[in-house]
Symmetry: C2
Amino acid sequence: MRTVCIIGVGMTMFGRFPQSNVIELGRTACLNAVRDAGVATKDIQVAYAGHARTGQLHNRECGVGQSILWELGISGIPVSSVGNFCSSGSTALREAWLAVGSGMYDMAFAIGVEKLTGREGKGRPLTSDGVELLTVMGFSPPVYFGNVLTRHMKEYGTTMEQLAMVAVKNRRNAGPNPRCQYKDPITVEEVIHSPVIVDPLTLLNCCPTTDGAAAAILCSKEVAGRYTNKPVEIAASALCSGPYEKCKDITSFGADRLAALNAYEYAGIGPEDIDLAEVHDCFTIAEIVHYEDFGFCKKGEGGRFVEEGMSGMEGKIPVSPSGGLMSRGHPIGATGLAQICESVWQLRGVAENQVRGAKVAFTHCAGGFQDTIELGDIQSSAVTILKRGW
Amino acid sequence: MRTVCIIGVGMTMFGRFPQSNVIELGRTACLNAVRDAGVATKDIQVAYAGHARTGQLHNRECGVGQSILWELGISGIPVSSVGNFCSSGSTALREAWLAVGSGMYDMAFAIGVEKLTGREGKGRPLTSDGVELLTVMGFSPPVYFGNVLTRHMKEYGTTMEQLAMVAVKNRRNAGPNPRCQYKDPITVEEVIHSPVIVDPLTLLNCCPTTDGAAAAILCSKEVAGRYTNKPVEIAASALCSGPYEKCKDITSFGADRLAALNAYEYAGIGPEDIDLAEVHDCFTIAEIVHYEDFGFCKKGEGGRFVEEGMSGMEGKIPVSPSGGLMSRGHPIGATGLAQICESVWQLRGVAENQVRGAKVAFTHCAGGFQDTIELGDIQSSAVTILKRGW
């Protein structure tokens, strides 16, 4: 498959916009991406729109991409909706990557959008799809990650202070980033003493409720040269469903390990080559588990990794330099492409919270739970590795 | 892009199965496809699940493919949900085609599934997504096609008898097909005098409410040779969003014309080469418009085309030899892949209602309405052309 580059990215502010709908949010992100790429809208040949829960939010499950693009004067081209829980945006990017990589299309739009506010009285409560009986019985993502945390503390001596350091670091990273929902600094004490959501997870250990959209324009490497001298290459885009091991260790996610392994192998890149990572820090404990699952540190050492500043801006691998889901917010389908936007800006050297000399960026989204929670793994994990194409 | 073949297909009976869920339906269709292809499930490397409205029906919008495949022992591979209104199944096929065509994967699963019964008290009424204000004001697909019909009658002299002949023909075709929801023959008189849904559209001019699933296994032409000496080639898979012309002629669909044009061009095949067509006969008038939009006959001559038997089993192009949506039923996301199943059987020469010597099959699904109905076009049209690969 031929090499595919990103030549333009755009996103909205992330925050609570109860008066906006997904089409307006998507239009803003797409327009920003078109301007960033400097392409004519007529040159875009195919598009994918990632969204996970829009059906309950805007009275539609299909046609989101068509409606967004029509407002930009783009019609007639193939447009599809893709959904994959919290990886929906990453899946849109991946399908655009395959479409251009195949040689069928030279330029593609990947769009991610979600609206989580303004749901009052509409549809069922927000929890992961695919977990029906267990939701009725009280299962929800915070419950699951609360269990992961308890186990991680017991097995590896991870502390609430280490957890809080993830939140503090990500909030500090968010400071200069205008697109983040929360930018004010917080302290370890504040995180630990914020209201308990699922013991021992407190409020500031959880990502917030957010609306937003993000988009990227992809093209073949050859075409990229016509528009920019700083094309960002997609070195790998791996997507895995859960391997669903029985009696598994809940402090590690098989789908994440597999997706990272596939991405490293395809890109010919290892954790030692990564200059920054935007991971799926939906909860602070998730970020700690991700350090371990992606080989940033050894198993069980995630707590120390953050405590010793290894994931900080001057550390071994700066993680969530944008502020992450914890500070930017997590509009489900938009997150994967927001990570791509932030990483592209890092590689171009123009991020507000810039990692010096960043050449390789690692991004990750994951979500969904298998019906049979005994199998205990996520249904979808996406890892994308970007690198400078110049 | 390299040539992609279909080596296995499978579907469920189509009908009303209020006690079944989408996962059970999907599992049956997939298992049938695996058996038909004679592949090992571990050889399947990527999967796409098409479904349009499952969110309201089974408490999930994502993870349908993952859950179906897990029950077949398939996990760890990339699995995505794709949605595109009534073209959702066709879109799943198309993404699988791109994934294999790109060279990234050798074998892919395309799955389509939907459940339309058992919706009582769950979610909003069944109408096309993307039409919010107009739905509140009374818009629905039968209203739209009722208008199309009235206009077609006025412009071209199309008669209720000609309309009814589509329903009668498709029901006759369904007779020997055990997978159809309705198989008993009907008469022109019965169609005309069935209850009025939207004047002048009567009940037997509309497709029924149906549950079902269908699936196909795709692989590269090279790999296909290991499993079968009758691989069916995907000669083209075109997908178009609506061109949304202003003040357009409502007796023709721009997205359909564009998708067919793109497919003919890519395949190097014209209407004169087609041995059979499975079109989106959601209403009898739709099938008549499709004859014209796809170049099976001249504009305005669709009524005469069916009256003169040109779309009959012994005609110029047998249309809906399987029974079509009118008789098989229309579980939204499943329909595109059901058309693929029926067409593969036709090309292999083993269909219950066989078109003699069929070498090239044309399939078509379309759906969705743009918010601004003034623009009056569908949001998604998919045309797939299959041909014998031997």
